[in-house]
Structures are given as structure tokens and as C-alpha cells.
Amino acid sequence: MKVKKNIATSEEGFIFNPSTGDSFSTNNIGTEIILALKQDKTVSEIVQEMCGKYDVEPTLFERDLDEFMTLLKEFNILEQG
């Protein structure tokens, strides 16, 4: 799953979609996930990386990540397909 090429993100978690004019803000974890997606990391790579970095159960994180990705798709931030 890839973030659309033209999506602008800032280190503070601000996301701007220049095609639609929509803007969003996310917390530090969301910012890290979007950055990882921008670097073409797979979902399992992200899970591994985040669970290594933070004290979180992989199954719990996977569920939250899935929910977050659904939101990103809904907001047209991810490539379709």
C-alpha cells in the first residue's frame, strides 16, 4: 500500500492532499507510519519496526494499523488498489 506521490506531509503530522485541498493532522505514531509507507515499506515491515521500537503487542498494533490504513484510503491519501 503506497501513499500517493503528491501527498505532502510534515514532521509535525500535517498532511495535505493537493488534488483535493483536504488537510489532516495526525499524532507522532501516525506520522511515522505515513513516513514508512512513503518509503515503500510493507505492512509487516512497519509492524516489525514499530513493535521493536514501542512497547506494543503485534496483534493489537496490526489491528490499529489496519484501522488507520482504512482511514487513509477513505481520505484518498493512499493509492487505489
Binding site: 503528491n6 488534488s19 483535493t20 485541498g21
Partner: protein, 346 residues
Amino acid sequence: MKKLVIGVTALNAVDSPGPGVAVIRAIRESKDFEVRIIGLAYEAMEPGLYMHDLVDKTYQIPYPSGGTEPLMARLEYIQEKENMDLIIPNFDAELFNFIKLQDKLLAMGIRTFLPDLDQLESRDKMKLAGFGKKNGFLIPEEHYLHEHIELKRMESDLKYPVVVKGKYYDAIVANSFDQVEKAFQKIQAKWGLPIILQEFIKGTEINIAALGDGEGNTISVIPMRKLYITEKGKAWAGVTLDDELLLDLGRKFIKATQWRGGCELEVMLTSAGKPFILEVNPRFPAWIYLTAAAGQNQPAALVKMAMGEKLTPFETYDVGKIFIRYAWDLVTDITEFQKISGNGEL
């Protein structure tokens, strides 16, 4: 560098603003020419009249409903004093007169850069649906009502919500037949008949400012999403977008019409990504300064083309540039008001 003398109308920078002040601001920002700006105003309370850092001198001109003769007489008087090189009209309602007069104005040394009457009519509210069909643009379905009885006949066929629109201005979204009738009467009282019933399209409101050279080329096109909309439906804040679909729509419109001058496409972009054209305004929009701020100064480009320069289309602009309009109390003296309302000049 020769100072260009440019007449500009629509100085009514009010809550539903005319584009004049924004056009002047953009022109003054160009480093390619120096200008003296002549304001052409209809009413003494147009705020632009009193903005002396933008407008050098203002003359009152007769209302468009008076026709071309009184306008021409007034412009002859102004021209004797000001020697204008160019006039940029910015109101829909005055364009017909200025287009009709463009040859006479040129003979006086005043250039314009306007669409012709056929182009002007092609995007008229009453003809937009036919134009869309012919050229492959998506236009909401419309019905024109020339008398109230026609509305009664349609009662069982109406789907809600529906947009009730006036011939020139105003649009009300109605959710029941009762609301449609009220809107019909309200708009009829203000703008007369016919009333337009337009299919309601749900989506994101986008406006596109485009500038054509009259030969089918788009010199500039910038889409803007409204971020804050006033009760009158005007953009009070907006952001420039980067969407090839919208840029293509602007270019396609300019090509299909061979549009000469500035125009604004009012678009509703559905969640399925279909751009419906709701209206086409035959002049720069009030938010036109954003094009200059984003790197494509459309009013300055129009000035250059009007003065005979051939331009190549702009290629880039800043995406994510935001404008936020604000209200500001300009303080002036009663003598200023007296000059314009008494002498018709300021």
C-alpha cells in the same frame, strides 16, 4: 518605461465582492510595467474608490441597463482627461455593452481583451446545458420555468434536493415543494423570470480561474478549492490545487470556446471524481489575486496580451497557496464621498 493607463470596473470589494480590487492588486504587482489605474464605478459606496494606494482616480459610469450610448459618452469624457490604454471590465452585466463598444473604444485608443458575443452567450446560464452536450462537458440537468404554472406541473416529477436559481444571480437549495415555491417567488421578485431548476450535485466546490488568448490556447489555469463559504456561497478562503482533471477541464473549455480573456468555471467535483460545471463566469473571479500569489499573474498576463504581446502558457504554480479574505474598516472623510457622489469623480 511607458506608464499604462488602465480603467478597471467592479471596485465593490464587499461581502459578495466584485473582482476589480483584486485585479488591480495583481496588476500593480507586476514588475513588467508601470500603471496608472482609473477606477470606473457605479456607486459611491464601492470601497475600491477610496483605496488611493490602488486606484489613482475614479469616475462614476452609467449603469449597464442604460445601454451603450450613455456609457460611450461617459467614456469619451474620461478618455479626454485620462488617455486610457486599456479597460478591464469585471462585471457580468456590463460585458455586453463593452463588447459592443470595443471597436469604438479601440478607435479612441482604448484596448480591451474580451470574448466575443457568441463566446459570451455560449456559457450563458440559459445555454450552458446545450453547450455542455455539444462539447462533452458534464452539466447538471436543468429546467427553465417561464411562469409559475410550469412549476406546478412539475411537482410530482421533482427530486430533492433541487437548486432554484435566478437568471443572473442567487441559488437556493430546496428540500421540498414548499421550499421550491418560496425560493421561486423570492428569486422571481429579485431577478424576474425565467427561474432555473437545477439538479443538485453533491460534492466538493472547486473554482477554476482560466485565461485564454482567443486562439484556443490556455495561458493560465489554476483550480482553487473553497475552504470557507459565506452564506451567499462565495469563497471567503480557498487553496490552490494540483489536479490534472481540473486543469484539463479549464484547458478544454478555453479550447472549445476559443475564449479570449479571463473566466471562472464553477465546478462541483463528485466523490466519484466527476467534474460538473455549474456555471461559467465570463470574467476574472474576485479571488483572482491568488493566481498572482501562486505564480501565474492572470490580470498582468491579460494586460500584456491586450497590449499586443504574444504569451506562452505558464507551466507551474504554487500548490497549497491559501487566501483568506478579511473585513477592514477603511476610514475616509465625508468630502471624499461628496466628490464622487456630487461630481461623479474622485
